[in-house]
Symmetry: C2
Subunit: 515 residues, 2 copies
């Protein structure tokens, strides 16, 4: 007899209602983000951390970083005392660390629904969907270019799940919208179809400004001046180059007191050395420079220390994702970031698989566990990532959402108190008997155990009778059901109109550009 | 241009030869087991560990454990000073810990090929195939009862892979052999088709004795008296019952100075409480009792502290595997075991999926990473496990073997030295250039980066042209290729004859029994 059937006899109410209640309890409005209850996994000694920091300092002092197409960034560095030689900037050891002391160790990103505002930093953990793929795919239609419809669909799927805390940014490229106007439709969609936090565009300074302006319309100009309501994810052009598009965007976010996420993207062997320690040192150098530039633009602006390590299949030159080197390297990046006392973005649910199959979830799970072990506060790419980020997969999104749910339980760790120790239960049950109907089980079953939506735990015969589906097939049914059931969060009509007006006006001011 | 092509121009020899060389280097005879280079992941405070230990002590002192059908075990406990009430044994706090001081913190298990002998304990990590499923399955034939042929196939697949260190035990049940004779064919197969360490039978005292006797034939009677050459995996009949079949077997192994692996199998909510801390305390109590009994049988006999936590889907009563509670609980079990200074067996590659699909590898990877993080020295069920251990899957075996390979790299951690820091490379390459042809890359590419056998990292178009295979399909091709290529390790003909004679004689002494 199943446990819940046992329990049902002694209680009122239906099974489904209790299941919903259980999901609510652990995931509802009371849990806008995770507060980790397990320590970070610190794998490297103080001595070795110091060596990596010293290597990063030497890279910064001897080779330096080029800042291209942004004279104001060079002016910032000049005023701060860095050495400038053409576009090349070199830094005295310790200089960037000194500047970074102004950046907050943690901050609040406010959501349209205040119950969904999140803390980024300290022991908080936030899951956000994957970011940036040109393609989308599902089991029915295969791979194709992403559209605005797909983009909206993924926002709705994320919003419908209790396991995300953030609506993300460019979940997929809406390639049916002109390149220079996409950001307007994307920011509108985040604001309209989600009531969680979100990210704006960074692909041009004016698109960053537009994104922030839309946030001002939603949250009020004065509020935005004092509070973080939007993130912008900017990439280093590794190795050791910051280009103007990115630095102008990161400065736009900082200037508006909004948070830039500073992310070197290092494919080892290509944009960095093939050895982990060297790639980590490079990443540290590049990220410190980017984070420090936000502080030169506006002292005290929130900023997130980001990282995206990856490796290469040296036989073919193909990038690889979800491999062991970046996973274990993430733990070191986490340690280095905490020594700078900055919020961390690191790792995510990475894979090169072209399908939501065994490879995808082996690589994704290893990578995603690294993200939670290394102490990442903001985990971008937590769901949907396929094919080295070229595709956003509807099915993998649901499988990954489920993993995010499991990680809520994982990060809760092991609680040790009288109830959890269950001492009375042993006397009650005694040797050789089962715990199904014990008082302790009845008192705890509603909150006990993560219950997956996509896993099949039924007996083989039952699974076979039901059609022998694999996990991807179950995920396919689930995302369709979620889209059918989706209801948009309430939005003030005046706000909706104001946002639409802004989008329409800005679009009318520009000719379409498709590149 | 791919890196290896770049490199090929400056070196002699073919690509395939170098690939084999690279695999050899990291996995060959020089690496019979892994010496972990990253710390264990310790998640619980001293205070909470003490609380769990105290709870275990109270379970042992107040509820106690039943020892059924083994009067000699009760005699052992009586002589050791435990309280006996019928079959129920209770223990003064501290009594078992005192006995366990005699058990070795680590020991060598010797392999037929001395180069494959392993260290169990300390910072060593050993991977062994899954154990005990009645069914096998592959993509061609689906699920069916396991046969001796399947059993031999899995031994050959394990032996062919550099990523296992142990041949395992009852990899699948050879159901075409009578129950009372299987152990003879299984031990013979391990000795004949593998030259790594292995496990013997435990399903009856005389089968344990037979297994050990065959080890004596292979290693010499005197050698076996002084050295561990065979393991026996015995399960507690949780909650809090040790039955005679198991205690007689564990005593047989201990008596012969061979190592028993002591494993409570607790499905939370059924054989233990639904709360993690309570299940862990129960497990600690049960394992300490089993381990201590080996020391009462023979002081100083090697023994392994084992654990198999799992959870239940409370909606249905179905067992679940690869879920977050056992994963995170394993870290605590590891801490508790190290406080007893015993070698640890914990977790493995668990799943309830019926296919080698996304679910299988999400659950398996979470579970397997817990095994390496918690400090397990002997990781049974590292490959093949499907359907809650009811099926041994040929394809999942290959996918899991690949994950075991990745974990070799993972456990190597991040090395920090001049070469790994690659400082010269930054000056050489400079901002904005790539590292493909740099001197540092050329010097390191042969040992850089884990290279998966089952993952597909190729571009989408190339993958599509090649047939759009998923990982399971690639694994299907791979196991067939490995079986075709398999060559048995050399064995002295006299030894082979002696083993065959023993098997034939023992079989002739018993009528077939099928239950």
């Amino acid at each position: 007899m199943a446990l819940e059937e046992t329990v049902q006899r002694s209680r009122h109410g239906g099974r489904e209602a209790r299941r919903r209640e259980r999901a609510q309890k652990s995931a509802g409005p009371g849990r806008p983000y995770i507060s980790r209850n397990i320590p970070t996994y610190d794998i490297l000694s103080e001595e070795n951390l110091l060596k990596i920091e010293a290597a990063a300092d030497r890279i910064l002092a001897e080779t330096g970083i080029e800042f291209r197409d942004d004279p104001e960034a060079l002016d910032h560095w000049r005023r701060a005392g860095a050495r400038i030689d053409g576009l090349r900037v070199t830094f005295e050891p310790g200089m960037l660390r000194e500047i970074l002391r102004f950046a907050p160790a943690e901050f609040i990103q406010h959501a349209r629904n205040p119950a969904n505002s999140i803390r980024i930093g300290g022991n908080s953990v936030v899951f956000a969907p994957a970011y940036g793929s040109p393609f989308v795919m599902d089991l029915d239609r295969g791979r194709r270019f992403g559209t605005l419809q797909d983009f909206q669909n993924f926002i709705k799927l994320a919003q419908s799940s209790p396991w995300f805390h953030h609506s993300g940014g460019t979940i997929c490229e809406p390639t049916d919208v002109p390149v220079n106007k996409r950001h307007l439709d994307m920011v509108y969609a985040h604001l309209r179809y989600s009531d969680r936090c979100f990210m704006g565009s960074v692909t041009a300074e004016e698109r960053s400004e537009d994104s922030i302006e839309m946030a001002r319309i939603a949250f009020g100009r004065d509020f935005v001046e004092e509070n973080c309501v939007i993130l912008g994810n900017v990439n280093v052009n590794s190795p050791l180059v910051w280009d103007g598009t990115m630095t102008k965007s990161l400065r736009a976010y900082a200037r508006a007191n909004q948070a830039a996420v500073i992310v070197p993207f290092i494919l080892g062997g290509a944009m960095g050395p093939v050895t982990n320690a060297g790639a980590i040192a490079q990443s540290l150098a590049e990220t410190m420079a980017g984070c420090a530039l936000t502080q030169l633009e506006r002292k005290g602006a929130p900023v997130i220390f980001g990282n995206f390590l990856s490796s290469t299949q040296l036989r073919t030159g193909s990038p690889t994702f979800g491999t062991p080197e970046p996973a274990i390297g993430s733990m070191v990046v986490g340690q280095l970031c905490r020594r700078l006392d900055l919020p961390l973005r690191c790792s995510g649910n990475f894979t090169t698989s072209k399908l939501p199959d065994a490879q995808a979830m082996t690589e994704g799970t290893m990578s995603m566990l690294a993200a939670v072990h290394c102490g990442a506060n903001f985990i971008l790419h937590a769901a949907g990532f396929l094919d080295g980020l070229l595709s956003m997969s509807y099915e993998k999104f649901m499988l990954d959402a489920d993993l995010c749910g499991a990680l809520h339980t994982y990060l809760d760790g092991v609680t040790v108190d009288d109830n959890q120790l269950a001492e009375g239960a042993f006397a009650e049950v005694g040797p050789g008997n089962h715990f199904f109907g014990s008082a302790h089980t009845l008192a705890n079953y509603e909150t006990a155990y993560w219950d997956s939506e996509t896993a099949d735990n039924s007996p083989f015969e039952q699974w076979e009778l039901a059609g022998s589906d694999d996990a991807a097939t179950r995920a396919n049914r689930l995302w369709k059901q979620r889209l059918r059931e989706y209801e948009a969060p309430a939005m003030d009509e005046g706000l909706d109109e104001a946002l639409k007006d802004f989008v329409a006006r800005r679009k009318s001011e520009m000719a379409d550009a498709w590149y």
